[in-house]
């Protein structure tokens, strides 16, 4: 009896201990899920978006280059999809636990500048020569004159077109020097039933190049302020809405939620032209069941003008070993990494000397003239600290304005209200 009771007691104790260790494990798991924070043992965390396993593997390869350059540095790669990336980065920043190195889009730098360590004073120690980068994207990574990230890729917004459809219709293919009249003629000739000449998305990024080419202004003025509630914007937006409602060369905008729908309409063969960047070109050529060509923006009253956007890597302010992280960023955007990313078609290199890798590695020599021309005629995509609000408001209200449910004047005034 006494034996059994003592064994019952010990069993209870044992169970108790199991419970306690389960609790400890749960706590440890909580601690382990903290993604940020580095230690002095050379471990760095790197957070970057990726859309597929192949893309993530390419980043891991680049991450290994850091360890190759300095064996004391170990990089842990963390990733999520592009859309989740910004939400997660924000919530990590809120808890002060960002990864040491974070991916950053040039047009989002004003919004995240507080999260990023300025790199200007460390460039010499990092072994970085700023002049080796294309100045448009290098400058695009500056906020108030301070460099907050080093770019790995960039590219001008250009027109993607369905070569097969153009050839079938016997139309001259868009090329350097084509005008907005040519654009409209082609769009009208190509539109038939549910196949449209142009894919008019509701995302502001896809509209800015049109405003630039027609009226010479962008969304942000020289003073750095949002400036869209003006005649230039209204005129271009009305023209753009007319593509859908009056000329009927573009499909009605389906809904406000997805910018991916813009390229999908093109890639699925439902629209002959769309606006996109070189970062999508390799994937577009692999996915589309037709030949994809690229052309610069058709020239309007202000010429053929476009914007360049791109992405890079910055060091977060919560990093405990910023000097090590800065050196790692230099490797991630270094010559070897850029050559690899370019050859793989993962990125159009921001380093001018490595851009040939992109053309040669992907049989894109034919695109070189268009790319050179578009880069030359581009301005960096300037944004404001509240760009998310601007982008979101534009997408939602553009749907009703472009479909004819409301006016472009209403659209620009609502977007302009996000400047405060």
């Amino acid at each position: 009896m006494s034996v059994s009771s003592s064994s019952a007691f010990s069993r209870r104790r044992l169970l108790g201990m199991t419970g306690a260790s389960a609790a400890a494990l749960a706590l440890a798991a909580c601690g382990g899920s903290d993604s940020g924070g580095s230690s002095s043992d050379g471990a760095l965390t790197w957070y970057m978006w990726s859309g597929s396993n192949a893309e993530a593997d390419a980043w891991k390869y680049v991450g290994d280059l850091v360890t190759k350059a300095d064996p004391t540095t170990k990089i842990t790669f963390q990733t999520s999809t592009f859309n989740d990336f910004w939400t997660k980065l924000t919530s990590q920043a809120a808890s002060g636990k960002s990864a040491d190195i974070v991916g950053m889009q040039a047009q989002r730098t004003p919004q995240f500048q507080q999260l990023l360590v300025p790199l200007d004073d460390s460039l010499a120690a990092m072994g970085v020569d700023g002049s080796e980068f294309d100045s448009k994207i290098y400058d695009g990574m500056k906020v108030d004159g301070k460099l907050v990230a080093l770019p790995y890729d960039f590219g001008p917004s250009v027109i993607f077109y369905n070569r097969t459809a153009f050839q079938a219709a016997g139309l001259p293919e868009p090329a350097i020097g084509w005008t907005q009249d040519d654009f409209m003629t082609a769009a009208k000739a190509l539109t038939k039933d549910s196949f449209y000449g142009y894919n008019a998305g509701s995302v502001i990024d896809g509209v800015v190049p049109w405003v630039l080419s027609q009226n010479g202004v962008a969304a942000v003025n020289d003073a750095g302020d949002l400036d869209v509630d003006n005649d230039a914007w209204k005129q271009t937006l009305q023209w753009y809405a007319d593509l859908i409602t009056k000329e009927k060369v573009a499909a009605p905008v389906p809904s406000a939620n997805s910018s991916a729908a813009a390229t999908n309409q093109f890639l699925s063969g439902n629209a002959a032209m769309t606006i996109d960047g070189p970062w999508s070109l390799i994937n577009a050529r692999a996915t589309a069941k037709f030949e994809v060509g690229i052309a610069p923006m058709p020239a309007g009253a202000s010429g053929s003008k476009t914007v360049t956007a791109g992405s890079g890597f910055g060091v977060s302010t919560s990093c405990k070993d910023p000097e090590r992280a800065k050196k790692a960023v230099a490797v991630l955007t270094g010559v070897e990494a850029e050559t690899y990313l370019g050859t793989q078609g993962r990125a159009f290199p921001s380093r001018t000397a490595q851009q040939t890798a992109w053309y040669e590695g992907n049989q894109l020599q034919s695109a070189k003239d268009v790319m050179d021309f578009s880069i030359e005629n581009s301005v960096p995509f300037r944004t404001t600290a509240k760009w998310t609000q601007v982008n979101d408001t534009f997408s939602r209200y553009a749907v009703s304005a472009f479909n004819g449910d409301s006016t472009v004047a209403d659209l620009v005034s609502r977007v302009q209200a996000q400047s405060k």
């Binding site: 609790a23 749960a26 920043a93 809120a94 009605p252 406000a256 939620n257 609000q389 939602r396």
Partner: protein
């Protein structure tokens, strides 16, 4: 405090099960219960209780994601009063609730009544109707957006049958919210159907038999016997459906992104935008608490009103 309460309860039941309450046993069981309860209690404290109070505290601050918070008092709440987008979101949510809840309850009740007699393939129908409820809502929404989009299945079918296309459901300010309601009903009725179907099976056949001997027809039987007996289930389903419909988010997020304009921006959508797109955590918390108070109030009203129409006795 939350930790000690369940321990006493646990100790009690064990002691009773062993045939007699003993102070020594109680104590011992209580102590060994602690480790078992700790994981759950920690989870509850860390992931439920703490966030609840943290969000209440945050709603009194201007709390940006980057940078330091500053105290506002009731500033966020008074901003809500004059915020037109919030008002639109509130109206959209109410319209959604007013459309969704009755349609959902009537449809699920109707279909449950239809498959309630021993009709052939009844189990099959139950499964079929329940399938939408268990498929991921995001997947459903993506499929619906493909159906509803211009040149999508509905549009092209209508074009080939009638020569007239369907409206641009998700891109039109007048159609977007009804489209979201439609998708939500399709997604949501299966669960209530299952609840009602089970409750109808529990109706004693002796009652309906007695009624039919007294000359009551099927319709009379349904409204005078089955429906009153179903009232606890209807109450349960209504409360839960109402709460979940006030919290509608995913459908609008995936189908329309809250647009066009703000025609499908619901309260939770606005909360998400404020907190995670516009980085105003304090303001978003204030929205959450207003929503909580609304849901609490309406659920309270339902509980008061149930005394009048819910019959718990058989």
């Amino acid at each position: 405090m939350a930790v000690t309460a369940p321990i006493v309860v646990g100790g009690d039941t064990t002691a009773t099960a062993r045939g007699g309450p003993s102070h020594g046993y109680r104590k011992g069981d209580g102590r060994s219960a602690i480790p078992f309860l700790t994981p759950g209690a920690i989870g509850f404290l860390a992931f439920t209780l703490f966030p609840v109070f943290a969000s209440l505290a945050m709603s009194f601050f201007d709390w940006p994601v980057l940078g330091s918070p500053s105290f506002l008092g009731f500033g966020n709440y008074s901003e809500l009063l004059s915020d037109t987008t919030f008002r639109t979101a509130l109206v959209n949510t109410l319209v959604f609730v007013v459309l969704y809840v009755p349609i959902n309850i009537v449809l699920s009740l109707g279909l449950a009544a239809w498959i309630s007699p021993r009709i052939k393939g009844r189990r099959f129908y139950r499964v079929v109707f329940f399938v939408p409820a268990v498929t991921p809502i995001v997947g459903n929404a993506v499929v619906f957006s493909l159906l509803l989009t211009p040149n999508g299945l509905i549009d092209s079918t209508m074009k080939s049958l009638f020569g007239v296309g369907a409206p641009n459901f998700l891109g039109s300010t007048s159609w977007a919210l009804p489209a979201v309601v439609m998708m939500s009903v399709w997604q949501g009725f299966g669960y209530n159907l299952l609840v009602f179907s089970a409750a109808m099976d529990a109706v004693p056949p002796s009652l309906t038999e007695a009624a039919s001997i007294d000359g009551a027809g099927t319709v009379r039987q349904f409204f005078s016997i089955v429906l009153p007996l179903l009232s606890p289930s209807i109450f349960f389903a209504t409360v839960l459906t109402l709460i979940s419909s006030f919290q509608v988010f995913t459908q609008a997020y995936v189908l329309t992104g809250g647009g066009p304009g703000s025609s499908t921006t619901t309260l939770v959508m606005y909360l998400y935008q404020s907190g995670f797109q516009f980085f105003r955590l304090g303001f978003a918390s204030a929205v959450a608490w207003v929503l909580f108070v609304i849901i609490m109030f309406i659920t309270g009203l339902q509980f008061l009103a149930q005394k009048k129409w819910v019959h718990y006795d058989q």
